[in-house]
């Protein structure tokens, strides 16, 4: 339990990398990149967790009555999620143009840039 969340984060990152490297379809590759990124969310939130604590929202909680988890990592993760969505959108837009210009989205068939 002490290290499980960290190991899960590492596993997700590597699984995403595996999918990215072996992908036969660029849309699938972009999806794998999103998987890689979810590893960062898991890692950050796991780092900020505190046993027996509650969410750092004080609208129905008396300040100081209970320990709260780390709010900073949550803010970082929020930023990260928005970044991820935009990068995905951007890369998908590029994949669309590749499909139009090359007639394929299989990276094995893209032979324009090499050497």
């Amino acid at each position: 339990m002490h290290v499980l969340p960290y190991l899960v984060a590492a596993y997700i990152f590597l699984a995403g990398c595996y999918g990215l490297a072996t992908s036969r379809n660029l849309i699938h590759a972009v999806g794998c990149l999103a998987v890689c990124q979810s590893a960062t969310y898991v890692l950050l939130l796991a780092v900020g967790y505190r046993d027996g604590a509650t969410a750092p929202v004080f609208s129905d909680l008396k300040p100081g009555s209970r320990p709260v988890v780390d709010p900073v990592v949550q803010a970082l993760t929020l930023t990260d999620i928005v970044v991820g969505a935009t990068v995905t959108a951007m890369l998908l837009a590029l994949v669309l143009q590749i499909a139009k210009r090359h007639g394929t989205v299989d990276p094995d068939e893209l032979r324009e840039l090499r050497g």
């Binding site: 339990m1 002490h2 290290v3 499980l4 969340p5 960290y6 190991l7 590492a10 990152f13 590597l14 990398c17 595996y18 490297a21 072996t22 796991a46 780092v47 900020g48 967790y49 505190r50 046993d51 969410a55 750092p56 929202v57 004080f58 609208s59 300040p63 320990p67 709260v68 988890v69 780390d70 709010p71 900073v72 990592v73 949550q74 803010a75 970082l76 929020l78 930023t79 999620i81 928005v82 970044v83 935009t86 990068v87 959108a89 951007m90 998908l92 837009a93 590029l94 669309l96 143009q97 139009k100 094995d108």
Partner: protein
Amino acid sequence: MSRRLRLWLLAVGGAGVTALLVAAGLDLPSFGGPSHPYGDRAVRASLARHTANTIASVNFDQRAYDTLGEMGILFAAVLGCVVLLRQARDEHRAEPEPAEVARPVRRYALIVLPVALVTGIYVVAHGQLSPGGGFQGGVVAATALHLLYLGADYRALERVRPIGLFEASDALAVCAYLVLGLTGVLAGTAFLANTLLPYGTFNTLASGGIVPLLNAAVGVEVASAVVVLLAGFLDQAVEIEEQQGS
């Protein structure tokens, strides 16, 4: 490079990175530990400025400068997608045929649409009090608008969604955020300083000083950005066609 060679490289690199990450995981403070110096400071700072939702305080007050960068990313991505998904020289637009929508789907969509829209706005408005805020509410509201595509048809969606307006509101929301930040510099305190407005009563809509304003700017930006992004992709998927024989 052959597929086999790539798999070998991947195995070597993957093994190395796995070893590194596992070793690091064993050295990390164990999960759920009590030491969070920055987090504790952030909670105190948030309460000192009457912001009930500490995450909103971190996002829009303590680390508002990060959020500026994030807005920049969203803004750049929207601009980038508009540029990348523009109609190329050898493409033309095809009017999509109005499709018949099944009645239950239509009824469902038209009932859920206003509910989702209001939920989105509610979530934005209560950003500094309860979980949620500009990002979450903005995405919900923008996605809700696209239920129209499901419920009615593409042209109905296009009528309620003047893209130019949304692009402009996206940019203007960024301007608003920046101008709010610059007032701090003009007043002689600091960029994005939350010292000009009164902090209000704890746990009310107007609490937190500058936080609700920045939150609203982000909400508008995110909503417009998502609308424009989805519009770009819908446009490609439904309307734009390559010239035959090109």
